[in-house]
Every structure is written in C-alpha cells, then in structure tokens.
C-alpha cells in the first residue's frame, strides 16, 4: 500500500515541477518509470547485500571464534562438504536429494488425488459428509508427527515415509477442496440446472472447473506439507534422503553435514515453490 502511495506522490511532485514545460507529458511519464525501476533495483540490491552479509557473518564469526565453529559450521566448509559428497559414490548428495524429491512428488500427488477424490465423494453424498465431518475434524487436529513410530512399525521403512507425507497433507486438502466445492456460485449451478444438467454434469461443467484456483491453492500447501512429512518420515525410517542425512549428521555431531543437507533442502523447496507459482500463473489466467 505505502509503496504505491509513494510512487503516486513521486508522480505528483514530478507533475508540479514539469507542468511548466508545455511540451508532451511523456518526460514526466518517463521519469515516473525511471523512479519505479530504480526503486525496484534498489530493493533487489538490498536483498543481495543482505544475503552477502549473512554469509559473510556466518563465515567470519566461527573463524574468529565469536561462536563455536563446531556448532554453526561455516559456508566454505559447507561448500567443501558439498563437493566431497558430490564426488562420493555411495553417499552421493544428489542421490539423497533425488530420493527426497521423488518421495515428496509421490507424496503430494497421492494426497492431491486422495484429497480431491474424497472431496468429490463428500460433495456428491451429503449424508456421508454429515457422518464423517466430526471424525475429519479430529483427524485434521491430531499432530500427525505423533504417528511416525506407528507407521514405521506397521508399514516399514519405505511405505511409512509416503504414509507420513499423505497423512500430513491429505486432510487439509480434503477440507479446502470440499469447502471450495460447497461455495461454488449457486447461480452458476442454477444456470446449468435450467439447461438440464444432471449431477454428473454439474460436477464436470461447473464445480470442478470453477474450483481450479482452490485446487491450485491446495496443491501449494500440499507440496510444503508433503515435504515436511517426508523429512519427518526419513528421520525415523530411511536409509537415504536428506532427512536421513540430517539425522545421521547430528548423531555423529557433524554440523557441516547437517547444514549442507539443510541448504540443499532450502534449494529444492524453493524450486518446487517456483514451479507451483509458474503453474498457478498458467492455470489462473482466465480465473481472475
């Protein structure tokens, strides 16, 4: 808000100065554009400086023993470890990363399919919704992380990780998508009913397409939650993956290994977030 206000003010000031000039108003507009652009550049520059300062401080503080390097590690050590792990054949960082990424993709795909499927079922059959509603509330409120040991015992080391990802992500997906379905514009539904649509057509022609934005929003939350589920699952169960690497690193007190894994995690979650943003922009073009 305040940002646009300031931009507005800057154009007003500019107008006052240049109003004397009887020629076309384009110089004012150009200077407006210049101000907007230079402001954008300044923001970007400040962000880079902040990142630079963060890494510099992280590097310098342990080296001068302002903090204990065993506890915090430092960027150059992380980079060295990263290169080491990249060359390592049986403990390769890319293999671990891929395991985590692949588990996350399977996790959120499963919980999207299960979540949207269940939401459709509940929308179709109101009686079922009324019956299961209180159970869903309990299931959603329960901290799913508490289930990790049970899943491990029941499902073993591979399936328990997927189960964890799904357990964390699926209930919120059901609740979000179902409430989106319920809030479908009743007039749009009325319209297709007057055109003779049956329930199946109402679902296909109105409810599903009008809820694409809701489903994209659910997917966005899903990806984040599935990643949480996978990491927590790997803490307990896995022989591979970034979660396994983090737990292993902390058990042998190699903070550099832990920090490397966390950095990798930051990178892949950013990439996934950007991918979803891109998807959102593509899909939402006509849903404004």
């Amino acid at each position: 808000m305040s940002e646009t206000d300031q931009e507005q003010n800057s154009t007003d000031d500019q107008a006052a100065v240049e109003a004397v000039d009887p020629s076309s108003p384009s110089p004012m507009y150009q200077s407006f554009l210049r101000r907007v652009r230079s402001r954008r550049k300044l923001i970007l520059l400040t962000q880079f400086i902040l990142v630079g300062l963060f890494f510099a401080l992280w590097e310098i503080a342990p080296r001068y023993h302002w903090v204990n390097p065993v506890l915090t590690s430092y960027p150059s050590a992380i980079w060295a470890t990263f290169l080491e792990l990249l060359a390592d054949t049986d403990n390769n960082i890319m293999t671990h990363t891929w395991v985590t990424v692949q588990e996350t993709i399977v996790g959120f795909t499963l919980s999207m399919i299960l979540g949207v499927g269940t939401a459709i079922l509940l929308w179709w059959w109101d009686f079922l919704y009324r019956v299961v509603d209180p159970f869903m509330v309990v299931a959603n409120a329960l901290p799913k992380i508490a289930l990790v040991p049970i899943f491990y015992i029941w499902l073993g080391d591979v399936a328990s990780i997927y189960a964890m990802a799904v357990a964390i992500a699926v209930f919120i997906t059901i609740l979000m998508v179902y409430s989106g379905f319920r809030e479908t514009d009743p007039n749009k539904v009325k319209l297709v009913r007057t055109l003779g649509a049956n329930k199946h057509q109402i679902l296909r022609k109105v409810v599903l397409p009008s809820n694409v934005p809701v489903m994209v929003a659910a997917l966005k939350i899903n990806v984040g939650l599935a990643l949480v589920g996978v990491i927590v699952g790997e803490f307990q169960a896995a022989k591979a993956g970034l979660g396994h690497l983090i737990i292993y690193g902390s058990q042998v007190f190699q903070m550099t290994l832990v920090m490397t894994s966390i950095s990798m995690l930051a990178i892949i979650s950013t990439i996934m977030y950007l991918a979803i943003m891109y998807l959102e922009n593509t899909v939402m073009r006509h849903h404004s």
């Binding site: 514009d185 007039n187 749009k188 009325k190 319209l191 297709v192 009913r193 007057t194 055109l195 003779g196 649509a197 057509q201 022609k205 109105v206 397409p209 009008s210 694409v212 006509h286 849903h287 404004s288």
Partner: protein, 263 residues
C-alpha cells in the same frame, strides 16, 4: 387448436419452503396463463416469490400443491423448451465467449457443430462477432449480458424466463439492452415471462403486467398494456417510456404495489 392451449399455465400453485426454523409460504393459490408469443411481465416487491415462479416453470422446483403446465403437459424437471436468463450473466470465466454460448447444447447433448454455427450466427447478430474467442473478463457488462442472451437462445427454447436480466447493468446500458432484447424476442416469436421490480421496464416491454402481493405471493392485478400503434407497430420500449399511456400504467401499478417510503 394451438392458440387454445396456453404456452405456460400455472394452476392454483401453493409453495412452501421448510427449514428447521419454520416454514415459509412463498406462493398461495397462484394462477397464471401465458399464450404463445405473449410477453408477460410480473412485478412485485422483493421476496414476493417472483423468481420462485420462474423456477417452477423451468422445472428446477416443484410446487407444494397445484399444477405447472407447458404446452398443456405437466412439467417434470428441466426441459429444453425453457430458456432461463438470470440477473447476472454468470458466464464461465474459464470458457471463451463461444464456448459459453454452446454450454446448453453441450449439456443437452446436441450436435456440437450445429451449435457452434448457431452460436456464431447469434453472436454476430448481437455485434459480438469479433469477441467469440475472448474471455468474459475482457467484455463490458452490456456485451456480457448479450452473450448470455445468445447462450439462452442457442438451444432455441420456445419460452424465455427472464429473472431481472438487466438489474445489474448501468442505466444507459439497461435501456439500450431492453430495447434490443425485446425486439429480438418478438422477432423470433418467443413466449416471454419477465420478472422484475422495475415498473418502467415491465410496462415498456410487456403485453401484460401481473402485479403480485407481498408474501405469500398472489395475483393482485393484471394489466393488458396497450399503446397506440405507430407505423412500425408496437412502440419500442424506449419510445414507450415517453408516451401518455406509459405514465398512467406506471402510476396505477405503483399504487397497487403499495410501496411505503420512509414510513
């Protein structure tokens, strides 16, 4: 014989809504008969059950008691004979204008190629030929409502149910569009039931105006609207608004509606 059978007939309709809080009587002993090609307007205050009437004719609502007949046959669910136009255009924002217009044909399982041809003809006729591949958000309110009219007419219904179709538009667009729409519907010989709270709109467009009481809705008065014929036949709605008869009808219906302001 065809002229003897009313196009739409409602006989002694009672309608009640039930909720846990209680029951609401929306319509009581409501009867109405509309001849083929007739343009009937129903006016009444908000909440008098006007829109409910259209839902009954459209077959998306069943009366508690009484009969709804279309072409002499009882209504059993939505039928392609009726086209419904709502207050807002409700164009689907994820479909192009052309895809919106063929929606009805798609749902009724009609031949898609024919529907597209018909949709294109209609859109061109309404000055939307260049906007077929546009999306609804790129069109103005008046253009959107014309696209909605094309969507309604694309399945070629015999009866049009208009539920305050102009109320969401600004005043100028509203006048222009009511002219345009009434001309199109008369030219195509459609039977029209228009529901509105706008007395001017009802008097200027319709052959017959039915005034409804407050809830439970009943028929309070029926007016046959007759204007002096011009050389082009019935005056257009816009012209009708400035005629002597218009004011008389308006004043009479206004007094019947029993609207109290600041009471």
């Amino acid at each position: 014989m065809a002229t003897q059978t009313p196009k739409v007939e409602l006989r002694d309709i009672d309608l009640r809504y039930f909720t846990l809080e209680g029951e609401t009587e929306a319509l009581r002993e409501f009867s109405l008969s509309v001849s083929p090609g007739e343009f009937v307007a129903i006016v009444g205050q908000s909440g008098c059950g006007k829109s409910t009437l259209l839902s009954l004719v459209a077959g998306i609502l069943e009366p508690t008691d009484g009969d709804v007949l279309v072409n002499g046959a009882p209504v059993e669910g939505p039928s392609p004979l009726c086209g419904y136009m709502l207050q807002q255009d409700h164009l689907f924002e994820w479909r192009s204008i052309l895809d919106n217009v063929v929606l009805g044909a798609e749902i009724q399982g009609l031949n898609r190629g024919d529907a597209i041809e018909r949709a294109k003809t209609l859109l061109r006729g309404y000055g939307l030929g260049e906007f077929m591949d546009h999306f609804p958000h790129q069109l103005s309110g008046g253009m959107r409502q014309r696209a909605a009219l094309a969507r309604t007419l694309c399945t070629d219904p015999e009866i049009l149910l208009l539920d305050e179709p102009f109320s969401a538009l600004d005043f100028q667009t509203r006048l222009a569009l009511s002219d345009e729409v009434s001309e199109i519907l008369r030219r195509e010989g459609k039977t029209v039931i228009l529901v509105t709270h706008d007395i001017s709109e009802a008097v200027s467009m319709a052959d017959k105006v039915i005034v409804m009481t407050k809830r439970p809705g009943r028929v309070k008065a029926v007016h046959d609207i007759v204007f002096k014929e011009t050389e082009n036949g019935r005056p257009r709605p816009f012209e009708a608004r400035s005629l002597e008869e218009f004011r008389n009808y308006f004043d009479q219906i206004w007094s019947e509606l029993d609207i109290h302001v600041g009471n």
